[in-house]
């Protein structure tokens, strides 16, 4: 095996800074899960095609399985663990729970973060906009109806 240089990184995750030492060939997903024990971020495919590894980088949904951890220095990363504050569910999490948008829950973290990113950009998305925004996230259980409903419940006045 090639010996690789190790990089000392400072990652800002959920408003906390973490010092991480890693070779460059590791994804953000691996560092979050294995080094920072933030296992709420899931690996469903490792190839960008399912969305379960979604985290927010500077507020935008990003596939952590396709992102090099070394490139994340100085970026603001939010994982599913960073949403609930003071032991209280974030409104988007509460909406998913209330609306039965979670079955097995494997897609949940990615779906919730993607939905929240949409609401941040567009507080009043129409149903079609919601469906499009979450169409990079595969859910095998729900058929999406209740997920869409959960996001709609926070979507304010429909346009």
């Amino acid at each position: 095996m090639k010996e690789m240089k190790r990089y000392s990184l400072t990652l800002t995750v959920n408003n906390e800074t973490h010092a991480v030492v890693t070779p460059p060939n590791r994804t953000l997903l691996e560092v979050l899960r294995d080094d920072l024990q933030l296992t709420g971020t899931k690996e469903g495919c490792g190839e960008g095609a399912c969305g379960s590894c979604t985290v927010l980088v500077d507020g935008q949904p990003v596939r952590s399985c396709l992102t090099l951890a070394v490139a994340m220095e100085g970026r603001k990363i939010t994982t599913i663990e960073g949403l609930a504050q003071g032991g209280k569910l974030h409104p988007i999490q509460a909406a998913f729970v209330e609306n039965h948008a979670i079955q097995c829950g494997f897609c949940g973290p990615g779906m919730i973060l993607t939905s929240q990113a949409l609401l941040n950009d567009n507080p009043t998305p129409a149903e079609g906009e919601i469906r499009r925004a979450i169409s990079g996230n595969v859910c095998r259980c729900t058929g999406y109806a209740k997920i869409v409903k959960a996001v709609q419940s926070l979507a304010g006045e429909e346009r």
Binding site: K5, N25, E47, Q60, V62, A71
Partner: protein
Amino acid sequence: MKLPPFEYLEPSTVPEALSMLDAYRDTVQIIAGGTEVVNRLKLRLISPDYVMNIKKLRDLEGIVDHEQSIIIGANVSVNEIRDSSLLQHKYKAVAEAAFQVAAPPLANMGTIGGNILQNTRCQFYNQSEIVLKGLEVCHKRGGAICLAVKGGKRCFSVYLGDMATALIAFDAQCVLEKSGARRTIPIIDLFTGQGTQPLSIESNELLTGIIIPKQNGAYGSAYRKLRVRGSMDYPLASAAAFLALSADGKIAASRLVIGASGPAPRIVAGAPAALSGKLPEDADFAAAAEMAYELSEGVDNLALPGDYRKKMVRVFAQRALQGARTDMKRGM
């Protein structure tokens, strides 16, 4: 899935990047958004010694409106293109293509440069070891056979980028820089047409920008893409069309480009002759679409059968031409 080992380079200026490319020629792989190249690395389709992240290069950002053209930096994300009102209004095909790339989160990461410079794909090639191990080595992996086409003497892998097809409809150019040199070539010339080595960019060259010339008079454009699902999927057939009308409402200039139908996007060379001087009507569009059909290669190496995809090139060429007619507007 794990990435292979590599060393990491992160230039902060273009000259620095160019000198790194020069120094590590042939052993360095550029990564922009990473949405294509990371998978190629993970599948071990490539194993470079160095991976060079170009996302810190500020000079590759921005969509700038110049007198004669619009210049798009190579690092501009696909979503920025989708959302640009300038492009939406004046280069509809380009914005429409961006709207249909992958899914919104991927198009947020993916850049226009990476999109254009993606490699060709094939079901017998973009696979992990579980499929490839024990399988005969095909042309694209350095062997001498094709698994998709029995007896195939060459590689029929398919170029599935959405953006290039649309950009070529506007005769867009790209700027390639290397240490001490710079060339501007039509995007169509980036493509070799060879499945094994589909791109003609040199290993020490950096794509820095895309130049779309401005149009005069009345013109319109459109991009149409076939996919099974409403999001996420690569195209299974695609077409971009550009139409410009003279004062009498007849077609003065046109370009029809097809994608997802061979190792390179292709300009339907006969289309302008078939259309020029005529009113933009379906019957003539059909003749051009028929040429698109003739030009396309339908091979059984993607999600749906090749003969079907070939037929769909005709349908989507026709629809792109119709879309361009609908988009018709005055020049800028």
